[in-house]
């Protein structure tokens, strides 16, 4: 399976980028190392969402909930118990996937629209609970200064940890998308009715996708805690979920790496524009409108169409590149 991956042209480019990122901390100032780490975490989150939205056409409108659940689970275990760090780190994604399963089971029986609307509402309930349960979650203030194991408590340490976990997750996601599971998922995106007619239990397939996507979302949540050392309700807030979706759209939601590009752009814009104005949400809305009207397939989606016209985007085994 790995030899498949390595043969792709894009792998060379990605590997080169990865190497550059590995040595980056030796010549970048500390703030930029932190900044890149934030991009990595957000990229992972956006990629996890895109499994649902771009590849599955599921209206996962409140994916941020699972990010938050992962972060809160790991953060609370680290801050309030004396359990070893690796248990907290594993508990986070598991809790997120479990939440994904619960909400998924409940919502998947309904059509896409209900699914999206309900997710927003149910997710907001979780936000409201986290917001009000001061004793447990620290309410609006959140919890700060969460203890981290030594090897990842420094900026550089957390950077490498996040980068490596991101890398592993990206490889896993790539393999998943190229597998029969991924192929079938994309078929359910294009035509769920046809899928049923060829014997696929569409709902079950979608539910499995949600669990996988929310698991990775939870991983992103844990990485957030590693980078920031704190947790607060904003992670569970709806606008963040919209922001991630915009990242996927911006980068190219039908492509593999589009969300990464989208995340990098949005995080950079947010940080940059944030120094001039507090009305980032407004800018975000305008970006979304521009996307809808001018580049609905995102930046990478647009490029592909230009390059390949009506040819396929995914080469098969027997076609040489």
């Amino acid at each position: 399976m790995f030899s498949e991956m390595i043969r792709q042209k894009s792998f060379g480019v990605s590997a080169a980028i990865f190497v550059v990122l590995l040595i980056a901390p030796s010549f970048l100032p500390r703030y930029y190392i932190y900044f890149l780490a934030v991009i990595f975490v957000t990229a992972l989150l956006a990629m996890s969402l895109n499994l649902c939205v771009g590849h599955g056409m599921l209206f996962q409108f409140h994916h941020g909930v699972f990010y938050g659940v992962g972060a809160y689970t790991a953060g609370l275990l680290l801050a309030k118990t004396s359990l070893p760090w690796w248990i907290a780190f594993i508990a986070g994604p598991l809790a997120a996937a479990f939440a994904g399963l619960l909400i998924g089971i409940f919502c998947i029986r309904l059509n896409r629209l209900y699914f999206g609307m309900l997710q927003i509402s149910l997710g907001s309930l979780i936000w409201a609970v986290a917001f009000r349960w001061y004793a447990l979650t620290g309410g609006d203030d959140g919890i700060h200064g969460i203890p981290m194991p030594d090897f990842i408590s420094s900026t550089t340490g957390s950077y490498y940890f996040v980068l490596i976990v991101l890398g592993i997750c990206l490889v896993l996601m790539y393999l998943i998308l190229k597998s029969p599971f991924g192929s079938t998922l994309q078929a359910t995106r294009d035509n769920p009715e046809r899928c049923a007619a060829v014997g696929i239990n569409v709902r079950r397939h979608q539910l499995k996708t949600i669990v996988i996507a929310t698991f990775f979302g939870g991983v992103a949540g844990v990485l957030f805690v590693v980078v920031e050392g704190s947790i607060f309700p904003d992670l569970l807030f709806w606008v963040l979920s919209l922001e991630i979706m915009i990242m996927c759209l911006l980068g190219g939601w039908f492509t593999f790496a589009g969300p990464i590009l989208g995340a990098a752009i949005i995080v950079s814009l947010r940080t940059f524009i944030g120094t001039y104005t507090e009305y980032w949400t407004l800018i975000l809305g305008v970006i979304l409108i521009l996307l809808i009207f001018f580049i609905p397939e995102g930046i990478m989606g647009y490029n592909y169409r230009q390059l390949f016209r009506s040819r396929t985007q995914y080469a098969t085994e027997s076609q040489t590149e």
Partner: protein
């Protein structure tokens, strides 16, 4: 029970009535959302933003006219109109160009509109809390079983059904209403018999938003008007249309009643987490009837 509140007949009656009056506001807002959902088949995520703007606009208009009773009534009339105007501008300028595209694009547009209107509201009005005064005749309370019940809530209990009847008359007796209903069921047919579909959409959208603005205006004397109202209401409105049946106006009424009353009793029984009760009701309803209590229009 928390808060040391005794469960007397008075407390129960007041709770019920408060729940009902809250349900009326929810109904007015949600009927607008449901209407748009029925005709355009898109849940307008910015519906909450328009509700919020309705409340802020009501405050501004009332203040403009002295803040007393006159101010109030003028606000009730003009605030929804302001909201309708804003929605008309958004629709004609941008939204209508998307009607040929897939539904997801329309939905995403309403997300963008919500983000933009949210910040615009902050820019225009700032983040302070505001509220307006109810007109003198609606101030104070009357006594129900010995406990005070705000007169303004009584007013809401009257307005709600009036709006419902008005909407019902409109959709069954007027030409525009019947066209809108037909469009909800079969858009192509309506277009085929020569009616300009784009204008039907525009009309439905503006009417829906007007109702949101009306809801916001009516609610402004009872709560603190502030940023964030848009998120709260849209989350509730989504739940209500989901349990009521998509696009169904009576479903919006049923859903609003369930939501308002369970919320009110939640405040009575467990104030810190009162919010859980309506959600519980939603989960129960949806488990039993996944497509909502009443038929969805499509």
């Amino acid at each position: 029970m928390e808060g040391g509140q005794a469960i007397t007949l008075a407390a129960l009656s007041i709770t019920l009535l408060v729940g009902l009056s809250r349900a009326m506001i929810l109904f007015i807002v949600t009927s607008g959302l449901s209407f748009v959902l029925g005709v355009l088949r898109v849940p307008n995520v910015a519906h909450g933003s328009l509700y919020m703007i309705g409340a802020f606009a009501a405050h501004s208009i009332a203040t403009l006219f002295g803040g007393g009773s006159t101010g109030f009534w003028l606000a009730m009339i003009f605030a929804p109109l302001v909201v309708a105007l804003i929605s008309l501008v958004a629709e004609r300028l941008l939204f209508c160009h998307l009607y040929q595209r897939e539904h997801l694009m329309l939905l995403l547009f309403t997300f963008a509109l919500m983000l933009i209107l949210g910040d615009l509201t902050k820019i225009v009005w700032g983040a302070d809390y505001r509220s307006i005064m109810a007109p003198t005749m609606l101030q104070g309370s009357i006594s129900i079983f010995g406990s005070p019940f705000p007169k303004y809530n009584l007013f809401l209990l009257v307005i709600g059904p009036l709006v419902a009847i008005g909407l019902w008359l409109f959709s069954t007796k007027t030409k525009m209403g019947k066209i809108a209903r037909a469009a909800a069921v079969d858009m192509e047919m309506v277009g085929a018999i020569g009616i300009n579909v784009s204008w039907v959409f525009a009309f439905a959208f503006v009417l829906g938003c007007l109702l949101a603005g009306l809801g916001g205006a009516l609610v402004s004397p009872t709560i603190s008007v502030t940023i964030g109202m848009d998120h709260n209401i849209i989350i509730e409105a989504f739940l209500i249309v989901t349990i009521g049946g998509l696009g169904n106006m009576w479903g919006a009424m049923v859903g609003s009643l369930i939501f308002g009353i369970t919320q009110s009793f939640g405040v009575l029984l467990w104030p810190q987490f009162a919010i859980v009760f309506p959600y519980l009701a939603v989960v129960i309803v949806l488990t039993l009837k996944p497509t909502g209590m009443l038929k969805s229009v499509w």
